[in-house]
């Protein structure tokens, strides 16, 4: 086809597509160079060692209990953290979504406040609060409620508390956004039709807030899977998460291949979680759109 036979609107469309591609190019370049290539390099390292292919790093998942115990503990902590952020975050989002504008802004600001401090600072702050002669323990022993200080930190408990604190906004914000979109007339209609507040909540509000709930749960769960600083500082060596396994392999054993294989497996786990979530919520049905 020669140029002269081309439809002018088709030409125009092509020009527009080229322009769009040009606009996308810088971001695309950054992602490819800084994300895609390193990830491929990572995957390559896990199967290529000393000039030949090897699956030795992956075989260790079957044989070495440290590996699967770390994965087990990571998934358990992620599950606990997810569950507790739901319990803590749902009521907060509910109140914020239902409150007048002024109040909801205040509530959301308070939820977001910890975001403005670094994770490291917050981890140390929790350490100070929770340690053996920290504020909480001295208050409890001082008031005579307990005789010996409680073991609040340097274990899974401390890790879970600090992780929840850091990840709570990731639960509250999607929940709030979803709840805000539920028209108030729906709960009013439910009540006028004879539904008690509990019935209306369970049958109308909760199902309609599910997309936000699941989005929040996926975010919190996936982010917990990769947590490093918090368990490192507050776990006291008793909490051994996957990210720490990666770092040990590099820092202590200089085993880049092993570290890479763990990262690859963790990444596959994250993809599986996302896939599972998208199977769990057919978004269209819950939203009643399209």
């Amino acid at each position: 086809m020669t140029k002269s036979t081309r439809n002018p609107s088709e030409l125009h469309e092509r020009r527009e597509q080229r322009l769009m591609l040009l606009l996308l190019a810088p971001a695309l370049l950054v992602i490819v160079v800084l994300l895609v290539l390193p990830l491929l390099w990572l995957a390559w390292q896990s199967i290529w060692q000393d000039g030949r292919f090897t699956f030795a790093h992956y075989e260790r998942f079957m044989t070495d209990s440290v590996y699967w115990l770390a994965f087990l503990q990571t998934f358990r902590i992620a599950a606990i953290v997810t569950l507790l952020t739901v319990v803590l975050g749902y009521p907060v989002a509910y109140v914020a979504a239902g409150a007048p504008q002024r109040w909801s802004i205040l509530i959301l600001t308070m939820v977001l406040l910890p975001f403005w401090t670094s994770v490291l600072v917050r981890a140390y702050a929790w350490l100070i609060l929770l340690q053996r002669n920290g504020i909480i323990n001295s208050a409890l022993t001082g008031s005579g409620l307990i005789d010996a200080p409680l073991r609040l930190v340097n274990n899974e408990f401390g890790t879970v508390i600090a992780t929840i604190h850091i990840l709570l906004p990731f639960m509250v914000l999607p929940l709030y956004a979803t709840m805000k979109k539920i028209p108030g007339e729906l709960t009013m209609a439910g009540a006028s039709l004879g539904g008690s507040p509990m019935h209306v909540f369970l049958r109308v509000f909760l199902p309609l807030s599910l997309p936000g709930l699941i989005a929040g749960m996926v975010l919190v769960f996936v982010l917990t899977l990769g947590f490093y600083i918090t368990p490192e500082l507050l776990g006291g060596g008793r909490t051994y998460m996957v990210s720490m396994l990666v770092s040990r392999n590099i820092e202590v054993y200089n085993e880049w291949g092993a570290a890479s294989s763990i990262s690859v497996v963790l990444m596959i786990c994250v993809f599986l979680v996302f896939r599972l979530a998208s199977l769990l919520i057919p978004f269209e049905r819950i939203m009643g759109t399209r």
Partner: protein, 363 residues
């Protein structure tokens, strides 16, 4: 089909209801009695308090003072889910995550009625709104009119004695709205439920209601039959809100006459006392004077300022010599065209003394 009215008819009494938000009075001492089975519209401009009144009836707004009665039951402090009032919301408020059938049976589930009784009631509800076979549909698959019917069926399936409707037809196009008006009327007859219908569309209110309550600035201005409201408006607000009326300031001369500019107009109605009075001229009550009208008619000589072709009629704008501006309608037929003149020409209009309506100012 159900031919017998099945809902237990119930009367509604609003007694001295007041609702204030800080210094703002959304509802100012409103009292209204609705008889069992009556269709009453609440008509008013936006911000007149009609939504607040509806909220108080539904239980979503607590009155600052006053009480609400359903028959002999004081429901002022009753929560919404115990009131047994069906509500049709402005944008239907259908549950998007439920099917048509699940929406309609929601009241049955909420009341924990045995599941065995649901199918029969669902079928008769779907029959009533002519949606048989739609029970399994999703809400987003329905048209506006169909959603409206589902909302109706859902509000009626638990056979409430009172149904509130908040501008239920405002989202529909004109043609569908008129069809639904007739259908609602028919349903009302068959159900026998008391209906309180909120609207800002005066024509809708006049078409459908036994009585219309006019609201303005949180107060009830007049509660009357459509005919009375149209022809005997209580004051200038009602007169300007109902029908196609023009109001002209007039002075009282005596009990049966007013002065418009330097012209005296006779009326068979009693002219109210007071300084600020208005002549209410409905466009359909003005006739072109052609010698066929009675001698007792008030005659207004005018200059035509503009004409507006509107399909079934031609609206003619005139400036009476006595002052002000008026409009009237000519049918767009042979007879109408024969009387028609062009802008700038003079015309004499006749207004019968019986149609010469004088109202006090709304203040």
């Amino acid at each position: 089909m159900i031919d017998q009215p099945k809902n237990e008819r119930v009367s509604v009494s609003i007694k001295k209801a007041t609702k204030s938000y800080g210094a703002f009075l959304a509802l100012d001492d409103v009292s209204l009695d609705v008889s069992p089975g009556e269709f009453v519209s609440i008509l008013g401009p936006s911000g007149s308090g009609k939504t607040t009144l509806l909220g108080i009836l539904g239980g979503f707004v607590q009155p600052t003072s006053g009480s609400i009665w359903l028959g002999t039951r004081d429901i002022t402090f009753e929560p919404p889910h115990k009131r047994e009032i069906g509500i049709v919301f402005q944008n239907y408020a259908l549950f998007p995550h439920m099917s048509v059938g699940e929406n309609i049976t929601f009241p049955l589930r909420a009341r924990r009625l045995p599941k065995a009784t649901w199918p029969a009631r669902l079928r008769s509800a779907l029959e009533m709104v002519e949606l048989v076979g739609y029970g399994g549909r999703r809400i987003h698959e329905l048209s506006g009119g169909q959603r409206q019917r589902v909302a109706l069926a859902r509000a009626m399936i638990f056979e409430p004695g009172l149904i509130l409707m908040d501008e239920p037809l405002s989202a529909l196009d004109k043609q569908l709205r008129e069809t639904m008006q007739i259908e609602l009327k028919r349903l009302h007859k068959r159900l026998g439920a008391t209906i309180i219908y909120v609207t800002h569309d005066q024509r809708e209110a006049l078409t459908m209601s036994d009585r219309v309550a006019i609201m303005n600035k949180g107060r009830l201005v007049q509660v009357d039959t459509p005919e009375r409201l149209h022809d005997y408006p209580a004051n200038s607000f009602v007169a300007s809100f109902i029908g196609e009326a023009t109001l002209l300031a007039v002075q009282r001369v005596q009990g049966d006459a007013v002065r418009l500019g330097d012209q005296v107009l006779k009326t068979t109605r009693r002219v109210p006392e007071g300084d600020s009075l208005h002549l209410v001229v409905h466009s359909e009550k003005l006739m072109v004077a052609d010698g066929s009208q009675a001698d007792s008619c008030n005659r207004l000589t005018c200059v035509i300022t503009d004409t507006l072709y509107q399909g079934e009629s031609i609206r003619v704008f005139v400036r009476p010599d006595a002052g002000g501006e008026l409009s009237f309608r000519l049918p767009s037929n042979h007879a109408g065209r024969a009387l028609m003149k062009s802008p700038g020409e003079r015309i004499t209009l006749a207004l019968h003394p019986e149609d010469t309506i004088i109202v006090p100012d709304a203040g």
